[in-house]
């Protein structure tokens, strides 16, 4: 079989010398390395008791924002889905009925909004594309699951709860800076 990359190196092993045949010096050397690391700074932390702090602009799990009056910002314009390079976002829009003005800001809203977290590459382009200030990436992470289906996040997981708002002010600053640069 011919190698495709041509980077393979064939290593030839010669006879072992007397010192190598003894094994003991090599074992001592190996143990030495292990013991040396006992006194070095640990690179791991005890998750979940200990948690590392995220960067201020960490791009994690999305949130669909509500405005100050608790109405959903998203109007199902589809810009995020067009911008998405991984095609992770789908939605179905619906018309706001009379009496639902306190739920949705505009006359059209997303009745179904799904992000496939397995497809999503957390690039943040949806956030940039959104004309309604509705979708933001947050410093939360996507939970691990056993089942692939459970990674399709619907509105129940994405829309922020009225009594549990999610702070995205740091990301907002970052987006505005980016837009200013473009100007």
């Amino acid at each position: 079989m011919l190698s495709l990359s041509n980077r393979k190196k064939v290593i030839e092993q010669g006879e072992l010398s007397f010192m190598e045949k003894l094994y003991l010096p090599v074992i001592a050397k190996g143990l030495g390395i292990t013991v040396k690391h006992l006194f070095k700074r640990k690179v791991t932390i005890k998750y979940p008791e200990q948690k590392r702090s995220f960067a201020k602009i960490y791009r994690g799990l999305h949130v669909l924002k509500r405005d100050e009056q608790g109405r959903e910002n998203c109007t199902a314009c589809g810009m995020c889905a067009v911008a998405c390079p991984a095609e992770a976002i789908t939605m179905i829009s619906a018309e706001r009925k009379k009496g639902e003005e306190h739920l949705y800001r505009e006359e059209k809203y997303a009745s179904v909004y799904e992000i496939n977290m397995l497809r999503c590459i957390f690039c943040g382009l949806c956030e940039e594309a959104c004309p309604k200030d509705a979708i933001y990436l947050t410093d939360r992470t996507v939970d691990s699951e056993y089942n692939r289906d459970t990674f399709i996040y619907g509105k129940d997981k994405l829309v922020e709860k009225i009594d549990n708002r999610i702070d995205i002010s740091q990301r907002k600053i970052k987006t505005e800076q980016k837009l200013d640069k473009l100007k």
Partner: protein
């Protein structure tokens, strides 16, 4: 016959042709945009002023330039006329001003509007418009009106191009659709919200350059660019039956006329075809429509993506003339 030069391109056209028509004969790149002129309807044009051009030389006999920009849809050509459109910065600036005027009362609710993605005003605003408005007063607002069962009128979005009025006058019988009031208060309306129940009334949706008149059967169903336009036809006793169907999966979401590169339908279609035939079995589907690559409708459609042929040579050039592996060659595209 008259010889005219538009943007340094010479063309010979019959007498009585307007500058706009002559420019369209040369090609879509040269033709000025038009919001109110519609070649299939008589007496349209002259309202929006989007199609203004500069006439540098009136004719061979009288070579003086015209003092002001002229609306090309209403100005006929003269022999030896020299016209500037895209090549005149003055016209581009003036057109940006016109766009600003058109957008004064426009609600800019594109994220909600069904027309977004195929809207003439959106394209125009994207090309010429300013980033923000300078208008400080409240926009005029109207309630949405249902005109009949299938048409929704959003008067807020209207730019008063009169195309729908001319459509109702010329291809339907009985005038029930018109413009009420004057000036800033002017609004397109039917007489006391009277329903239009003519067979061809649905065409007002196709001629509308903005999202003022929209299809209620398609309302908020999908964004235009998520649907796939296909040419289709059926035997219809009222119209030619040649339409474009907008499909999502195996479902027909919307039926419209076939629009050409200037946004004008090839033939007007009847309401039965437009609103009632929404099943795939009703239509003989001919194939996908050609969509301009710059249009958002072609976003995320990779079928027609072409690998640039020049790339291989250029990359080789950048690579100091070193030979590239064969996998990257254009023949393996």
């Amino acid at each position: 016959m008259a010889k005219v030069t538009i943007d340094d391109i010479e063309i010979e056209v019959p007498d009585g042709t307007t500058i706009l028509q002559a420019a369209r004969m040369i090609g879509a790149d040269v033709a000025p945009p038009a919001m109110c002129y519609y070649s299939k309807l008589a007496t349209t044009g002259g309202y929006c002023r989007t199609c203004i051009v500069k006439v540098e030389q009136g004719s061979t006999k009288d070579p003086r330039p015209m003092p002001k920009p002229v609306p090309s849809c209403r100005t006929t050509v003269m022999d030896g006329m020299v016209v500037r459109n895209n090549t005149s910065p003055e016209i581009q600036e003036a057109r940006a001003g016109i766009v600003e005027f058109l957008l004064i009362n426009h609600p800019l609710d594109c994220p909600v509007c069904d027309q977004a993605g195929e809207c003439d005003l959106q394209n125009l605003g994207y090309k010429h418009g300013a980033e923000a408005t300078r208008y400080e007063f409240d926009r005029r607002t109207f309630e949405q009106i249902d005109i009949g069962e299938n048409i929704k009128l959003h008067m807020n979005r209207c730019i008063l191009c009169y195309r729908c009025v001319k459509t109702c006058e010329q291809i339907t019988d009985g005038r029930v659709h018109g413009v009420l009031n004057r000036g800033d208060h002017a609004e397109i309306s039917t007489y006391i919200e009277q329903a239009i129940d003519n067979d061809f009334s649905g065409n007002v949706i196709d001629v509308c350059p903005v999202g003022a008149l929209t299809d209620k059967t398609f309302r908020f169903k999908s964004r235009v660019w998520f649907t796939k336009p296909m040419d289709a036809h059926r035997d219809c006793d009222k119209c030619e039956g040649k339409v474009a169907v907008w499909m999502k999966g195996n479902e027909i979401l919307r039926v419209t006329g076939r629009k050409d590169e200037f946004g004008e339908v090839e033939s007007f279609i009847c309401n039965t075809c437009r609103f009632e035939k929404k099943s795939v079995s009703d239509w003989t589907i001919e194939g996908p429509r050609k969509i301009n690559k710059k249009s958002v409708i072609s976003a995320n459609h990779y079928e027609e993506t072409k690998k640039p042929t020049y790339l291989y040579d250029r990359v080789q050039l950048l690579n100091d003339g070193k030979k590239l592996p064969e996998v990257n060659s254009k023949d393996n595209g």
